[in-house]
């Protein structure tokens, strides 16, 4: 059985089945395909710098290696921050009761960038939360889909068609004053919009 999102408000726990809301499910999709002169689809591969080795798809493997070229299993990895301090692992919140905070104002949601959206189907909806969502209230909680090192923020929202979980992290945007210093130029490699083709809205 798929794990559920369990959310607790005022001592009552509600359970939701979640499904990722993908653009292709709503709008269809568009993709760029490369074909040869017969119209057959081609695959993307790698050619070594000297041109001597051709690596079709599936010919490479990603492993964690230390400085002595020894493999480190993913289960043995530990995360550290920029100063080398250990980062506490975060366990998945699926199947674990997470307390909700709120209701929060819409500005709290606007202070986060939420690129991940789930549709939530109530398996067990407590009366208090049901009434609050129907009244248009927004709630906030912790969320981690899988074990890792960073939990994100979940916002619980209801509209005319159902209940949604909007998951993301704070934008970090602050009020600008006349004396606010100009931000450092972004790294050349960093692009605000490093994304692939997507024409679902056109």
């Amino acid at each position: 059985m798929a794990r559920q999102v369990l959310l607790t408000l005022n001592g009552e726990t509600s359970a939701f089945d979640l499904a990722r809301l993908d653009r292709s499910k709503l709008y269809g999709g568009r993709r760029r395909v490369v074909v040869d002169d017969t119209g057959a689809e081609c695959a993307r591969g790698l050619l070594s710098e000297d041109g001597s080795v051709l690596l079709p798809p599936g010919c490479t493997a990603d492993l964690y290696l230390d400085e002595t070229f020894n493999v480190v299993e993913r289960s043995d990895l530990r995360a550290v921050d920029a100063e080398g301090n250990p980062v506490t692992p975060v366990e998945s919140t699926l199947g674990v009761a997470v307390p909700l905070e709120g209701p929060v104002p819409p500005s709290r949601l606007l202070d986060h960038v939420t690129p991940t959206v789930y549709t939530l189907d109530p398996a067990e909806l407590a009366d208090g939360l049901k009434a609050a969502l129907a009244a248009g209230q927004i709630f906030e909680g912790r969320f981690a889909y899988r074990d890792g090192f960073d939990a994100q923020t979940l916002f619980l929202v209801q509209n005319d068609v159902g209940v949604f979980a909007l998951v993301g992290r704070p934008t970090g945007f602050e009020m600008i004053r006349r004396t606010t210093p100009v931000p450092e130029p972004a790294d050349e490699e960093e692009d605000l919009f490093e994304d692939d083709l997507d024409f679902g809205m056109m």
Binding site: R30, L46, V53, G58, Y64, V72, V113, N159, F199
Partner: protein, 232 residues
């Protein structure tokens, strides 16, 4: 290199302003059990002609392939397996396993069920957000509550001033929006009805401008959405 965009206010005045993205998540690196640094590395697993597809091409008969695998190691390129991939060029490989020197790009469209509906020559779609073309004031003001319930705001840009004049310009826009408790719908084109595309072949977005202001400061954020809160 800072990114700029050109925006218009409700009095048809336009100005070029700077935009910045959200804060990056904290950088993490990994160490092994003994505390030594561990990095993700891409290694060669097998090479062309030695994967199942290639071996089947070389030994079309299954029995012959099985004998070859027992006799020797045709699936392993002892010179290459386990090497770092390093700097490599991306290439297109045809069905016969050969590198393509002349390729044709197509745009394939599928419906929500995943079925292909059309297949045409791929044509580049140019950016619609340009530094020297002002995004118009559409005048379409939407309640904040309606926007957050209707759209997934998947990307955000903060608008920043570049001099004293643009500070006042942006402050006034933010104050205007805050007083009305509304977000401005932002789009490209003369009337603002087109999608916002920030780079060639980039994702198209709808934009919603939010403003907050106090006596000597402002926060003006362009929220971008390419996903409605609807059920399939």
């Amino acid at each position: 290199m800072p990114r700029f965009l050109n925006i218009t206010d409700d009095r048809a005045r336009d100005a070029q302003v700077e935009v910045t993205g959200p804060a990056k998540p904290p950088k993490r690196s990994f160490v092994g059990p003994k505390g030594n640094a561990a990095k993700s590395t891409r290694l060669v697993k097998t090479t062309e002609g030695r994967d199942l597809v290639g071996l089947t091409r070389t030994f079309p008969d299954g029995e012959e392939l099985a004998r070859a695998l027992v006799r020797g190691d045709p699936e392993i390129d002892l010179e290459q397996v386990g090497r770092r991939v390093g700097n490599a060029n991306q290439v297109w490989i045809g069905p016969e396993g050969k590198v393509l020197y002349a390729a044709r790009a197509l745009k394939v469209v599928t419906d929500a069920a995943g079925a292909e509906t059309s297949r045409d020559d791929f044509v580049d779609v140019e950016a619609t957000v340009l530094e020297d073309a002002a995004l118009p004031w559409t005048g379409r003001l939407l309640p904040v509550d309606r926007v957050v319930r209707s759209f997934a705001l998947v990307q955000k840009l903060q608008l920043r001033h570049i001099n004293g004049l643009t500070f006042d310009f942006l402050h006034e826009i933010a104050k205007n929006l805050q007083e009305k408790q509304r977000m401005l719908f932002v789009g490209a084109g003369d009337k603002g009805g087109g999608p916002l595309i920030f780079q060639r072949n980039g994702s198209p977005y709808r934009g919603f401008l939010e403003g907050r202001a106090d006596a000597d400061g402002f926060l003006l954020v362009l929220h971008l959405s390419n996903l409605e809160l609807k059920r399939p």
